[in-house]
């Protein structure tokens, strides 16, 4: 149980800077997920918390104590690695108990604690096996056990589920969640998988290019993305983005072929904006319906429970997710309808969210 305070943390290697001044407060007992594409600096940030990477600038404090210069073992963190990093020459019991052995815990107590952890993780019958003889899910649990046994102040997870198959990933996800509910230890979880991030996080940190784009609950990040990057990165299929220009009485979209009647709210005429709409917020209606945009169907992806329909909107690609029993043929024309409340606006220059617009329904250009 410990809070983590990250202040203006930077990381640079010889030629390039990979983390540009990150600020983050993680409360005691919180489950924080850092989400971002590969190379965004999320793993580097986690490794700096762990003490496996030097901190080039700024400070990281755990429970109010700055840990910049402390060795990993002095920070009270435990880490679960992406490839599990189990010691191949040790049995499961030895793997789990290694940290206790290093700490000089007597053998009897060690055995007892290994047993307790093994019981929690249902590994009791595997204690004598070598990691080679375990399945992916079992290895994952051993790695968890190795982290748990130390009763650390902070749990760090570095994409621990990415080597598992889809079914096991879902199962381990809920196990990690349950475990956190029981142990209630501060946890930082790094992933590039947004479903994992949404389902696990108390709070989500979205990173891109070494910077934090947004911090918030999964719901906030989904419903009010702070930037164009977050909007397109969180949610699958990705949010549709249409380029537009501010005009006197609204917005002109797609080089003027479509129009949105919205209030200008102080933005200068001619300002470039991006309009976002989630595929799941779009409804399919009959072509020619008043207030709907007509588009040509390109491709239909069947998902079982629903389908993703990719349409061509005056040359721009646009996706619609529907669970209704509609099966439009590629080449046919459909109408797209959405509520103005579901539109997101971002600055074309900086990509930041613009709150000022109140949209009305789109109309075809005159």
């Amino acid at each position: 149980m410990a809070s983590i305070t990250i202040r203006d943390v930077k990381k640079s290697y010889a030629k390039s800077q990979v983390v540009h001044g990150v600020d983050l407060d993680i409360a005691s007992g919180e489950f924080v997920v850092i989400l971002g594409p590969s190379g965004c600096g999320k793993s580097t940030l986690l490794r700096m918390i762990a003490g496996l990477e030097d901190i080039s600038g700024g400070t990281i404090a755990i429970d109010g104590i700055v840990v910049n210069k402390l060795e990993p073992r002095e920070r009270g963190c435990a880490m679960v690695f992406q490839n599990y990093a189990l010691y191949p020459h040790m049995s499961v019991a030895q793997n789990i108990g290694y940290s206790l052995k290093v700490a000089g815990v007597p053998a009897a107590e060690r055995t007892q604690r290994i047993q307790a952890v093994a019981r929690t993780l249902e590994l009791e019958h595997l204690l004598d096996r070598k990691p080679m003889a375990l399945s992916g899910g079992q290895r994952q649990r051993v790695a968890m056990g190795r982290a748990m046994i130390r009763e650390p102040k902070v749990f760090l997870f570095d994409e621990p589920l990415s080597n598992l198959d889809a079914k096991l990933r879902v199962q381990m996800r809920s196990e990690i969640r349950k475990l956190h509910r029981r142990l209630n230890a501060t946890s930082v979880f790094v992933t590039h998988d947004q479903v994992e991030a949404m389902t696990l996080a108390d709070r989500l940190v979205v990173m891109n290019g070494g910077r934090v784009e947004q911090v918030g609950t999964p719901g906030e990040v989904y419903s009010r993305p702070a930037s164009r990057f977050v909007a397109t990165f969180v949610g699958a299929p990705a949010m549709n983005m249409l380029e537009g220009t501010v005009e006197l009485d609204g917005l002109s979209l797609l080089g003027g072929s479509r129009r949105l009647a919205v209030q200008r709210a102080g933005l200068a005429v001619g300002t470039q904006v991006a309009v976002g709409i989630r595929p799941e917020a779009v409804r399919l209606v009959a072509p020619g319906t008043a207030g709907a945009l007509d588009a040509t169907v390109d491709l239909v992806e069947e998902l079982g429970a629903g389908r993703v329909i990719y349409v061509d909107l005056d040359g721009a690609s646009f996706s619609v997710m529907t669970s209704e029993a509609v099966h439009p043929e590629p080449g046919s024309t459909v109408g797209l309808r959405f509520s103005p409340d579901d539109l997101h606006f971002f600055s074309s220059d900086t990509g930041t969210r613009i709150e000022v617009f109140k949209a009305s329904v789109p109309e075809p250009a005159l």
Binding site: A50, R73, M79, Q82, A85, Y87, P88, V102, M132
Partner: protein, 294 residues
Amino acid sequence: MEKRVTFSSWTIGILFAVPQLLLIFTFFYWPAGQAVYWSLTLQQPWGGGNIWVGLDNFRSILSNADYWNSITASLVFAGISTGLAMFIALVLAALTDRQLAGSRFYRVVLIWPYGIAAPALAMAFRFILAPEAGFMAVVNQVWPGFWDPGLDGADAMASIIIAFSWKYVGYNFIFFLAAFQAIPRSLIEAAAMDGSGVMRRFRDIQFPLITPTIFFLLVINITESFQDSFGIVDIMTSGGPANATNLMVYKIYSDGFKGLDYSGAAAQSIILMLLIIVLTIFQFRFIERRVHYR
């Protein structure tokens, strides 16, 4: 899954193997067979056929104190030079593994000694370790009589051990470094997270994981120290002083080609071969058990 090529007919398989079998037969089994034959006969120095003598050659060799002295010298040489070459290489590789900048450079530079022919490096070490000039002369100036491989058997043994170890440090280093590099970084990091310091990590994680390499190098180094030492001994000490460095492989040469005792030399080479076989079996039998293969 491992794919194995299979041939439907025996003949194709045998045809593929023939060139290799021919080479092995011509350059290994045939000479070895000849040596066995000579060791059981008395070959006359000026020709004129062989006389069958059974095991007399072996009896006469094994009852000779000089020969036992040679075995002892060979074992001392093998033990110390293997230990030295492996220990130094292990330390260098462990240090290099931590700081990888320029490791390619080390790799190239450290493999060179292995590429130098034994007599050439022996010549160099003969000068380097000469008692009358260079560095050792300075030491002798301070402690007169401290170093003289020409008179002191122990000094002579030290000289050939140094020369041989120098050659094999490079060879061992390459293998050790490769073994260290093959250990996933995350294992070391996991151990660091588990609270293990540098030395502890080396003992608990890295060392057990490179045991297959250590075992391989042990077998190779011991075998080579019995065989590859010839050139070094020949150039540096010629087996002297007073037979102190007359290793088995050198004694075979000097008895056979200088003493013209072909049969005795053949018998000695059979004994050397048996000794290496026994040592290798011993290593596989008793040391390999402690190896963790991944």
